[in-house]
């Protein structure tokens, strides 16, 4: 097991383990990188959307006459252009391309216009008249299952779903996982804590808003560019929503201005393709910031009722979690978030008796979907506070309590899956030591009363990576260089660079000789998407395997060329193949490729295609209902200590220092790995302290950067440390696991634990706004 920071390199490194700069730097640092909004086509039309003003209403009729009469308007699409049978959805096929029959949330796309200029398109949307019959709306997920609650979907049970979702009424999905016998285990506990925690909707706030550009050729085939995290999900969603054959739609990828989950499933793409098909011309549509806030998706608000019991020596015995997720108007990724959150609800601890169950409620708000962490930040906010609450009652140090219970070698995860590499204890050691935990906490406790109170909190978590299908194609070009094609979208996190490093290392080539293709449904092998922290692990494995195929073919041909056995051959650095033990001689990749093209074998193409196959649930251990995934992936781990300073005059919390250690298996590109941890920390700080989508009735009250505030340079920690622990997973490519999401899982919990340490009151609602913290300060009587 190794620890490294991002400036160390190992000896004898090829490309893997080196902090090479991101490949796209040349484009991005000169302003030449083209994102969706930077694409222009001669003669293209501009699109604009009309949003629903109502949270819930039946659409009786449209009057498009005034809009159509506006000079420059070329096409208008509404729900009338859709076949009612066509719906999309990641798990439950409940969502039309745009509102049909009903509008289900304020901000939902009701119509879209294509016109000669964006200004004309937007003006035309204001001229569209829609006759609505306003319906009562259900806005509170806790009221969504009441007998008299308005139904968001009239016949939800009739939708087809990819798993046993239990969809009916306003229940979008339901899941239950059970191990041991929690119900009767409470009697065996010496201490029990029980509480309800509430978390808010967080907006992804990628600096790039969502957009798409659809071009249509003479045969009616569409090429769709969009800000996306998966060309294959775009393709599937658009085709399902429009009843289009997949052969008629090609999806491509410009540079992407981040996603965090917002761009994983559909946004405006179905509407834009519909417009292009109707207008028979290229259409580009980019959402305004307000539209992006209101129309697309956000993180699930959650109500987490949690109960944890332990023995007096700190051994955890039982856990019950009841999770209610506000799913918004459409299923989207909600069933996945629910299932995953419940699977992760215990955290990385051995708890023998667990009952974790929950539901996603349909409500008349925008859909809630994938957002970094995928439900884990919500349950971790609850779980890690319960650990601290237990530590309090037991008068144990919070880190000591965790050490007593964390999963170690040989332990299996909740549900029964084996863990093959586990660096969690090392992570905990690192942050405990680096933060000076014992000394700092003691000093905080003894500090004289003052306006500014410091506190320190800890949280640990895990993340599972490896979900769904992946492929890779590696081609040896005629000159001996290599083209890698995986379909994995680089949304800025650096997957192009990391995958190229792995390919180069596998073939002992300098990384400059590996090119990587842009994701394109025409040419790329299937890749589920850049989500769930999966690309390094799944696509990396595929890349290594595909490169292995190329190596085999190279050696076979080289063997023929050099008239020797393939077992005697070895790849050498720089793109040659030679006979082991015989220095010199050998043939170059270019020569082998020439031979392949002219003489025998054909062009050298290595490919791989796979799905993770280790089951998540052992039915002999756990009873599970409604879990959407049967196999997910491998485990990464995190331990984090955060120091806060609470201004007891105003309740404002700032973060002077933070220490984070992640077991990521192997750092393929260390500086990119710490970049993920650092970015997740600040995004997590926003989640913990200032970010909250607020509804005023059915409308969003703050769909604007003036009113919805994310951390700036001024809010970043004064000092933060990110440590990479490498436990070398036996199944990971070069031992790698994941780092994309795990860094956000613990932040709100660690900050909350730190605030409790500072002011004495525990807060159970996110975000910890100044107002809520001040209330906590006053409740504890800790005023200066």
């Amino acid at each position: 097991m190794n620890t490294r920071n991002d400036t160390e390199t190992r000896e004898n490194e090829g490309a893997v383990g080196v902090s090479i700069p991101q490949r796209e730097g040349g484009e991005k640092l000169t302003g030449r990188a083209q994102y969706i909004a930077d694409l222009y086509r001669h003669g293209m039309l501009y699109g604009a959307i009309l949003q629903s003003p109502h949270a819930h209403a039946r659409i009786r009729a449209y009057d498009l006459s005034e809009a159509k009469a506006l000079p420059g308007v070329r096409a208008i699409v509404t729900g009338d252009d859709l076949d009612p049978q066509h719906r999309m959805g990641a798990f439950i096929k409940d969502e039309p391309a745009l509102a049909k029959g009903k509008v289900r949330y304020c901000g939902e796309i009701v119509a879209a216009v294509a016109a000669d200029t964006e200004a004309i398109a937007r003006q035309a949307t204001r001229l569209i008249q829609v006759d609505y019959e306003v319906l009562p709306a259900v806005l509170d997920p806790e009221r969504a299952f009441d007998a008299d609650a308005p139904l968001v979907h009239d016949d939800a049970h009739a939708y087809s779903a990819v798993f046993d979702s239990g969809t009916q009424g306003n229940i979008c999905s339901r899941t239950s996982l059970r191990e041991g016998d929690a119900a009767s285990a409470w009697d065996g506990c010496d201490v029990v804590v029980e509480h309800t925690y509430r978390t808010q909707a967080q907006a992804h706030l990628s600096i790039e808003p969502c957009g798409a550009l659809a071009e249509i050729d003479a045969s009616g085939r569409v090429t769709l560019w969009s800000a996306n995290q998966s060309v294959f999900r775009v393709q599937a969603n658009v085709c399902e929503a429009l009843g289009l054959s997949m052969a008629k739609l090609r999806c491509q990828t410009p540079h992407i201005g981040a996603g965090f989950g917002n761009k994983m499933e559909a946004h405006v793409q179905p509407a834009v393709v519909l417009l292009a098909l109707k207008a028979r011309k290229t259409v580009k549509l980019v959402l305004s910031r307000e539209e992006d806030f209101e129309t697309v998706r956000a993180r699930h608000p959650a109500v987490v009722r949690m109960k944890t019991g332990a023995k007096s020596d700190g051994t955890l015995v039982a856990r019950e979690t009841e999770l209610l997720l506000d799913g918004g108007a459409y299923g989207d990724d909600s069933p996945g978030v629910l299932g995953y959150a419940l699977l992760m609800n215990c955290g990385p601890y051995n708890i023998p008796h667990v009952h974790a169950h929950g539901r996603v409620a349909y409500t008349n708000k925008l859909r809630f979907g994938a957002f970094r962490g995928f439900g884990v930040p919500q349950v971790t906010f609850a779980s890690e506070q319960q650990l601290d609450a237990l530590a309090d009652k037991l008068e144990m140090d919070p880190i000591a309590l965790r050490r007593k219970n964390i999963k170690r070698d040989g332990d299996r995860w909740f549900g029964g899956q084996a863990i093959h590499s586990n660096g969690l204890e090392k992570c905990l050691d690192l942050v405990e030591q680096a933060s000076g935990w014992q000394t700092a906490r003691a000093a905080n406790g003894k500090a004289p009363a003052s306006e500014m109170r410091r506190g320190m909190g800890v949280a640990v978590s895990a993340h599972i990576s490896g979900l769904l299908a992946t492929g890779a194609i590696v081609r040896l070009l005629e000159d001996g260089t290599v083209l890698l094609n995986t379909g994995a979208v680089d949304i800025g996190q650096g997957s192009n660079t990391v995958l190229s490093q792995m390919c180069a290392e596998s073939l002992k080539l300098p990384v400059e000789r590996v090119a990587i293709a842009s994701p394109d449904t025409d040419g790329s092998p299937y890749n589920w998407g850049t989500t769930a922290s999966r690309i390094t692990y799944t696509t990396g494995r595929s890349v290594v395997a595909a490169a292995g195929e190329v190596e085999k073919q190279i050696k076979k041909l080289a063997g023929a060329m050099m008239e020797c056995a393939t077992e005697d051959l070895e790849l050498r650095a720089g793109g040659t193949v030679g006979i082991r033990g015989v220095p010199g001689g050998g043939v170059s990749f270019a020569q082998v490729s020439g031979y392949a093209h002219w003489a025998a074998g054909g062009p050298i193409i290595g490919s791989n295609s796979w799905v993770f196959d280790q089951k998540t649930v052992d039915p002999k251990r756990a009873v599970v209902t409604g879990l959407p995934f049967s196999q997910i992936g491998i485990f990464s781990f995190i331990a984090q200590v955060i120091e806060v300073e609470v201004d007891t005059l105003t309740g404002k919390v700032r973060v002077p220092r933070a220490w984070t250690a992640c077991d990521i298996g192997r750092a393929i590109n260390p500086i990119m790995a710490t970049g993920q941890i650092e970015g997740a920390l600040v995004q997590g700080m926003g989640y913990a302290l200032t970010e909250e989508l607020v509804w005023d009735g059915g409308r969003l009250a703050n769909p604007s950067l003036m009113d919805y505030k994310i951390p700036t340079f001024a809010e970043m920690p004064d000092e933060q440390h990110a440590y990479l622990v490498e436990s070398d997973d036996p199944t990971g490519p070069f031992g790698a696991k994941s780092v994309g999401e795990i860094g956000i899982n613990t932040v709100a919990a660690a900050i909350s634990n730190a605030v409790t340490n500072a002011i004495g009151t525990r807060l159970s609602q996110l975000p910890l706004t100044c107002e809520r913290v001040l209330a906590g300060v006053l409740a504890a009587g800790k005023t200066p």
Binding site: L29, T30, L205, F713
Partner: protein, 164 residues
């Protein structure tokens, strides 16, 4: 709101051109849609995110809050025009080596603001950098590596190790 377009004379990156612009068209719209200078980005159109930051008469401004018509007698610089100059080269190099960008969407505005800072304050400490860049939002990096990169660029310029 669709007033007719008129010809506006803009001096951008040292060269003057006539571009069509309606009265209400912002500098951002004109730079991007008329002049294909797409480095400046539209992240919010309200002046908060900073992705549209450009230089007008030696001041950093929000292109999304500037009317194109009001910029007729000004000297406008965008990232495209600054990339060959030593301070910007030093910043680009430092950003690349320090992982100070990920998706890159905020990066042009960030570079413009960092460049302006270094022209005013050749040796900024972390506090000065954070204050100068607080109007440029980044959602990817968590800011740490950007501060490191700006300090490294400042040091490189100070030692005159960067030549254009």
């Amino acid at each position: 709101m669709m007033s007719a377009k008129r010809q506006v004379t803009l001096t951008v990156n040292g060269s003057q051109s006539q571009v069509p612009a309606a009265l209400h068209d912002t500098l951002l719209t004109v730079l991007r849609d008329q002049m294909q200078l797409t480095a400046a980005k539209r992240g919010c159109n309200q002046g908060v995110c900073g992705a549209c930051t450009v230089v007008v008469d030696d001041r950093t401004v929000r292109a999304c809050l500037s009317l194109a018509q009001n910029c007729e007698h000004a000297s406008i610089s965008t990232l495209e025009g600054l990339i060959e100059q030593a301070p910007m080269l030093a910043l680009q190099r430092a950003f690349a080596h320090n992982g100070a960008f990920q998706c890159g969407f905020c990066t042009p505005g960030m570079l413009i603001s960092a460049n302006a800072l270094l022209q005013q304050n050749p040796s900024p400490d972390a506090g000065a950098i954070r204050a100068a860049l607080s109007g440029n939002l980044c959602r990817c990096t968590g800011y740490t590596k950007i501060v490191t990169a700006v300090q490294e660029a400042a040091a490189a310029l100070h030692a005159k190790v960067v030549t254009p």
